[in-house]
Symmetry: D2
Subunit: 412 residues, 4 copies
């Protein structure tokens, strides 16, 4: 019996998929304690966009530590926070003509979502929120209510209320306007549906199975929200920070969210950080109305600031797009060559291979691991194999990983 079996809670999950003990990691490679080398097509569920132990970021962190920079400071002002804010505003927001204020919440995605929901309810004085099928927004009760997954719901042990559930784009088949019933219900005072405080959505549902909303649908959601005085919250926790080939997933999609949830990749190095972007006129918080111990993660500010270097110009993002296109081309071929039916979905450096059943997807993951390739599943019943390497992965390694994946899939 290992230490983990004896002493770690039964709730552990990924360690069952990849039952080794990891030790070291660099960019897209990981090594276990026996020295076996793995290619990482997972990126820590979207956290490690800049790879494991990115040297530039690491240097910034070590320098900060050695200089005795203040590490923990709740929501006090710190130089590293100031630098992060300035850099983020100048590098990300201003060039995109976006004006938002930053709220540093507890440093996990679910904390950011909870803050967004509270603020939307406060600003509108309303209680219900529209959330979408297959959406994933977190595990704490407020965010969990917006998450679609039944297994997670049941684990709540209490009712999850104040959510209006609406089919995501494509959920009812191609060409079906999934918003029409809601639109009709909101027009009508006898529908039983109250005007919502907010619509919360991921433009790309990552945990939900790599479901991409179209530009038209997103704009229709945005219009509906506007028409009824509801806020539009984009939960960009997994898809932002360059993953799609753009900094935000919704760039070029013609929507302007009121609140934007960021976490995972924003800290750069894989250490926790969460930010809620708020349109200035909606920043109606009272001082101290939503708190949290780890709001001021200075190491995350330091690494996060260093990571913003990647976005000073379009070079990095255009590389992401190039690699993304290359990945997609390869995946198209793999799908075509496969003997089983697979649906490919994705964009940029986030793709999903919908295997149809959780069993098939699990088989791919298990066989890939035999090939020393770390690749996870997502989607309903885990039936989608998720392809999400670090954005910084070397071409050679990307090709090698795709070769291994091809071998596995062709063999099915």
């Amino acid at each position: 019996m290992t230490v983990f079996e004896r002493y770690e809670s039964n709730v552990r999950g990924y360690s069952r998929t990849w039952p080794v003990v990891f030790d070291k990691a660099l960019n897209a490679k990981q090594w276990d304690v026996d020295g076996n080398e793995y290619i990482d097509f997972f990126s820590g569920a979207g956290v490690l966009n800049f790879g494991h132990n990115n040297p530039k970021l690491r240097k910034a962190m070590i320098d900060y530590l050695e200089a005795e920079g203040v590490t923990h400071s709740l929501d006090m002002h710190s130089r590293s926070k100031e630098q992060f804010i300035e850099r983020f505003v100048n590098t990300i927001l201003k060039p995109r003509k976006m004006d938002y204020k930053l709220q540093f919440t507890g440093p996990t995605g679910t904390n950011v979502v909870e803050a967004a929901l509270k603020l939307a309810r406060k600003v509108t004085g309303r209680r219900d929120v529209v959330a979408f099928t297959d959406g994933f927004h977190g595990m704490t009760l407020g965010a969990l209510a917006c998450t679609g997954n039944q297994k997670f719901h049941q684990a709540a042990g209490v009712d999850l209320n104040n959510v209006i559930r609406v089919p995501f784009d494509g959920y009812l088949g191609e060409g079906v306007d999934t918003l029409e019933p809601l639109r009709r219900a909101l027009e009508d005072t006898s529908s039983g549906i109250n005007p919502p405080a907010a619509f919360i959505l991921e433009t790309i549902q990552a945990e939900g199975g790599i479901n991409l909303a179209t530009k038209e649908w997103l704009q229709a959601v945005a219009k509906l929200a506007k028409d009824y005085g509801s806020l539009l919250i984009v939960d960009d926790i997994q898809a932002a920070v360059g993953r799609t080939g753009y900094y935000f997933s919704f760039e070029n999609l013609g929507i302007e969210p009121d609140l934007i949830c960021l976490a995972k990749g924003i800290g750069g190095y894989g250490i926790p950080m969460g930010v809620l972007l708020i349109k200035p006129e909606l920043d109606q918080w009272e001082p101290g109305e939503h708190t949290g111990t780890f709001r001021g993660q200075n190491l995350s500010f330091v690494a996060g600031t260093a990571a913003l270097d990647y976005f000073e110009n379009d070079e990095f993002l255009s590389e992401v797009r190039r690699k993304g296109e290359f990945t997609e081309e390869r995946l198209v071929k793999i799908v075509e060559a496969a003997k089983v039916d697979i649906e490919l979905r994705g964009t940029g450096m986030i793709h999903g291979l919908d295997m149809g059943t959780g069993e098939k997807a699990a088989a791919v993951v298990a066989k890939a691991f035999e090939q020393n390739l770390i690749i996870p599943t997502c989607g309903p019943s885990g039936r989608v194999v998720k392809v999400m390497p670090p954005l910084t992965i070397e071409d050679e390694l990307l090709i090698e990983g795709l070769d291994r994946l091809e071998k596995v899939i062709i063999s099915l």
Copy 2:
């Protein structure tokens, strides 16, 4: 207008109390960007038990970073996690004859509490939880429902249900058995009170104003929980990890919690980490039933493991108790010398000076800051000045800080 005023959300709080920009910190000293030096009697709300930038911990972290140890790994096995678990079990649990399993949740206190509540509800099949007046358990909806503070409740924007609110020990005056109405209600099938899934409490309510429960009362809660098949959850997020002069706040108090929530100080260095300790027979989670991106904070494991050095023998804790007694003696004298009525409460290295009103406490904090002393408030309306230096504070600095505090209070 500063960067913070222009771009950070209005929700920021502590930065209004201490309106400078902090830059560096070492043990119990902090410096702002202008080089002014401050004594820290706050310890990041209980996170920095081992001081700012503790050199031993820092060395472990830098070594780990330089060795390219895996930093982010969700809930996969990692060598650093294995080492943390082993060390925690051997150094903390076994010597205390405690048998618990560890669940690493999202790395903030509120995430740990949410996991505890879910598990208690799952194990018992019940929905309601007993929480106490002045309790503080977090900001996400499940934990927030257990928190007593009205301002935080109102910010939820939705109802916070499934909580039975009961007066904490001492809430109704000395000698009043605050549990009697609940005990009576649970005996009776017409009371409208259902047997609860759990009782959640802090043995020392820190945010609630440094309210200490007596041993007798805690044992009565534990008995009541046991009698009705409810779990006893101790939220030891602020008071554990040595703060009271014992590793856990409930040592020597004759209770044996079913679930123990740890966060804040457990990561050692001020970087996020959260652990739920679960009695083995209650570890009834299904794999992956409660997840979170930042469950496997390896830097926190590394620093946290290094911090466990302090608990290999009783030396460190006895030093904490010695400093605590010294602090208390000084505070007693300060209170006696004060021209205003002050109630002193506390134990170990956590004390509160109840000034009676929020205004008076705010005045102490403001004047202390003029003396370059960082000291916060807590309690209803913020009327309690909280004295909580790093456990590692040098005697000289502790005395200097107390001198400054005395000067402020005598001057009222």
Copy 3:
């Protein structure tokens, strides 16, 4: 200032529409205290199917009173209850090959609905119930949660949870399968929609605006309920007891409800009574698990039993159908002759003239009252004029009423 203005609550409604004091009534005629005579096209919202002061029913009641029959008996056995049950079973259920048990709840529709919802939740162990847009099920919190009207919802002052709201047949335009999104969501474990305890619906939404569900849609609802182990509750409170030309509104529609809610007309004379019909295998109540003071309304049993005479053979119902067809023909002509757009909906002796706006419908009602015709509105914003005379109305009076209505509508 009248007694009503001074002493009756401002909540009074219909008395504002028809601001006279009524005194006497017989079949389809009513007289006010000044002796003015009115034709009643309202039937007390469906209560007075057998007209005001129906002589046969009245005789039975007076006889019972004079014989000192027990009047109030909670849920004790009484001879009048026994007779009602036997008669109802033999006259209504057996000829229709229906096997149900009768639960006499508190004697208003909303009490019956609350009992149905409780039982459905108990039997299935589930919490959520599907209810439909524009549905009306009552004013107490459980039934109100299933009602669609926003004004009524807001008056609750608390959240109305555990209801999944789905568009009624036709709500999204002709030919749109309004169940498809729900069907899809129930197939999927990530939709955020849990399998419901029940589907509750009116086959004809009366308060909702005289919306008729098609046979196909009702069967699709029934199938969906069956597929997911949910109960089918038909709230037949307004549409049963002969109103449609059939005893139950769902006869010939190919569905077999699990629970049937009856009230309004079942008492025959306009005195309160409520019955829940329960499929025997679903009658899983514990004794006394749902109570109510006025469960055993013996006068209602007596009048209700006498009213069952009308259903001993098809004569009465075929008369209803004949009058209904006649009414519909006249209404078709009225609509055609009108200068404004009107949509006619209905069946049997329940019809609605959808005037498009509440203002227009209110004008019809006001002008009709000038013609001594009592006719109400229903539907969203009260935009539908409801034509619902007693089933026993004399042909002459029916014609006279329709003539008056025509005059009003043509004049618009």
Copy 4:
């Protein structure tokens, strides 16, 4: 198998206690279908204050029926309603210097309570309501949430929220101020208790076991409500209309409720009726904001008006008090003579014999029935035998009934 066993729902309760079929009744006597005669010490749970088939009331009803008075009129004005209001105001309210408006809700107690709760929430803009241990307020979800009984709660199948549960007077033993914890919690902004919309209570908890609140406690509740801007709702459904020897149960107790719930006895004859009395300034309903089909029960108005004759002067009430005192004296002796411990509680014509266990109380009821005495139980686990004859019971019959009861109890 009887008709009832085959066709009436298993939920039936009282018919199991008294397994005969009742046929006729007059004042305090009932006869079953076999002609057996029973003395009624139950009064239909407080409905039949004026006895079964009270001749004066019956005459008024028959006259009304024969005159073709309008029977069902929703909330339209009717002459019988006008007469009832005038008579009620002049006979009951004005002599007591009470100024209230009347809302006729659906004609059952639970409907009245639901209306009261809605109005209190609307007027205050608050959500939570204080309700007391052992309180009984009805079976529909809003009223049920205020009811204390666990069996009834569990039957809800959903959460019952927005209620703050507080121990009733005496619940914690004599002399304990059960309001102190709430008072303290309301003073404090960190108690987790929000200022309530209302306090709802029965001055005498009838279903709860004949628990009488003291004048001092009621005044303390009233003060607390006033201090925090909460409404005081007295649910006088079972205890008003003369039961205590006063028209309202709270007369002479020094409180002035904001809302008063009446039902049961108000209709006089045992036919349904419900009234909410509202202080004029609180009558903030919008027209039609709370509706109900059977709001205008004209037969109840007629019988109810005739019943008000009893209150034109103090003669009837003084008779009630005399009989009540006589009853109490006898019960004191019975309790003293009993071989088992019995606690007697009560006032006027409502008394309870607390037998200590449900089994003992059930034995009393069963043996009494063998003596042709109908007497029910109430209270937690049904451990209290409730003595509640019609107020109009003849002395001889009252004595006979008490003799039978004595015989039963002495024999235990």
